[in-house]
């Protein structure tokens, strides 16, 4: 009974994290500079990692954690690469 309750709590927390991640789209769309958009996408990616971990605990599917680990790695690589390209070439493209 307690295990079911904890699973429900994790799923509810994942839903609230989804709401907070959707709020980041405002800054990603309206951000005046490239760095603002990049920062919003970075925070959104961190939220996505947390949501995947919460779903792994809430749905009892531990392989979601592998996806979360790869996603965190790619998120970090994306931030570093785009911030380097904006300095050296004045843009990503």
């Amino acid at each position: 009974m307690t295990a079911d309750l904890i699973n429900d709590v994790f799923l509810a927390a994942a839903a609230l994290f989804v709401v907070l991640a959707i709020l980041m789209f405002y800054r990603a769309v309206a951000g005046p500079t490239t760095q603002d958009r990049l920062l919003a996408v970075n925070v959104l990616g961190t939220n996505t990692v947390v949501i995947l971990a919460l779903l792994a605990a809430g749905l009892d599917e531990p392989w979601f954690l592998d996806v979360a680990l790869i996603y965190a790695l790619l998120n970090f690589l994306m931030s570093i690469a785009i911030s380097k390209f904006t300095v050296e070439r004045g843009g990503v493209l």
Partner: protein, 109 residues
């Protein structure tokens, strides 16, 4: 007794994680320039993600998946401030001026 302590520690960790992530979301949306936003993203978002991942690690108990969760926690703690630092540095090197109190009241850039 131990069950109740275990349950409530998970609830408290999740609640603080949600609170700090809410602070980070409000900061990224409301603060005036990119340096202040990088500041709030590097601090409160890292703490919120770390507390939520700690709740997951506590709930999973002793098994293989907990090792992944703790690795993910350390990885987020190291890489998230590094990424925010790189973004703020690229903003400085592309010539974005920091917002000061002399600027127009309520005007964001």
């Amino acid at each position: 007794m131990i069950d109740a302590l275990y349950f409530w520690s998970i609830i408290v960790l999740l609640a603080f994680g949600l609170f700090f992530t809410l602070v980070s979301a409000v900061g990224v949306i409301r603060l005036p320039d990119v340096y202040a936003r990088a500041h709030t993203a590097s601090q409160t978002d890292t703490l919120g993600a770390g507390l939520a991942l700690a709740a997951v690690a506590l709930a999973l108990g002793w098994q293989h998946a907990t090792v992944y969760t703790v690795l993910l926690l350390f990885f987020v703690f190291i890489t998230n401030p590094t990424a925010a630092h790189a973004i703020a540095r690229s903003a400085a090197e592309t010539g974005i001026e920091p917002w000061t109190a002399d600027d127009e009241e309520g005007e964001s850039r």
